[in-house]
Symmetry: C2
């Protein structure tokens, strides 16, 4: 179950985690970003119980992160495919940021299992803060400013 | 408890979530990034049970994301402050990415509760993929490439 209390926070980090913060959910998104669509394939990739996977996928569909579409193979019953929506694909940068942090701060002995590169140029990419002129801003130089909406 | 199985994955997204994916953990990081250091202040901000908060902070200290330092106010018993390490501060971009996604896809009726700006210039910043020449790359143009370490 997604967390209703967190979903109703004025803080968008809380709201995001209210939908995405359950265990497995961001790993489902990771798998969907590399093209997994079928329940059995998510299950095999994650090694997660069917009822947990079903619950997480239902939440993601409910909140517009994925769509659920029926399909039927000859001689089989109707099954469902799960595809990321635009909102779901926008999580690429969240997953990329988690990957980058893990590679830097929880490194695997043999090195990273995946790399991210720009499709057109093949150049390696990283996740960073960028200002509205397109210049990268070091994270330590980014200030957090409370708006009028911030709880007093 | 952090998730040992996820921590021992070749995938750095799994490893990151093995440490950070428990409920409340990324909200503790969010609070620490705006300067909260004391147990009671985290507890008040999050409204979380003391044993859960203590468990999450212990995991973050164990994995080098925060440090735990004793302090004592006159007439009080010794308490502890929690400060982000360099590895912890590097999570700013993860929290920023989650905030950005929530503002875009789970918007609050009155607008964002916080904004991020470059300290020196005051210009608004966002989180994005950027290549090694400093150019922003749209997330849809970022390819995920499996290395030799990727499980076959």
């Amino acid at each position: 179950m997604a967390d209703v209390r967190m979903q109703e926070s004025t803080c968008s980090v809380s709201r995001s985690l209210g939908v995405l913060g359950e265990k497995w959910t961001l790993l489902i998104i990771r798998d969907a970003l590399v093209g997994i669509t079928r329940f059995a394939d998510f299950r095999q990739s994650l090694g997660v119980a069917a009822d947990v996977l079903s619950d997480r996928l239902t939440t993601l569909v409910e909140f517009g992160v994925m769509t659920r579409t029926p399909y039927q193979e000859p001689g089989s019953r109707i099954r469902h495919e799960y595809h990321l929506t635009d909102a779901g694909r926008a999580l690429h940068v969240v997953v990329g940021a988690l990957q980058q942090w893990g590679d830097a701060h929880l490194p695997w002995s043999d090195g990273p299992s995946i790399e991210r590169r720009a499709r057109r140029t093949g150049r390696p990419v990283h996740v960073a803060f960028i200002d509205d002129l397109g210049y990268e801003v070091p994270a330590d130089d980014v200030d957090t400013i409370q708006t009028d909406v911030y709880p007093q």
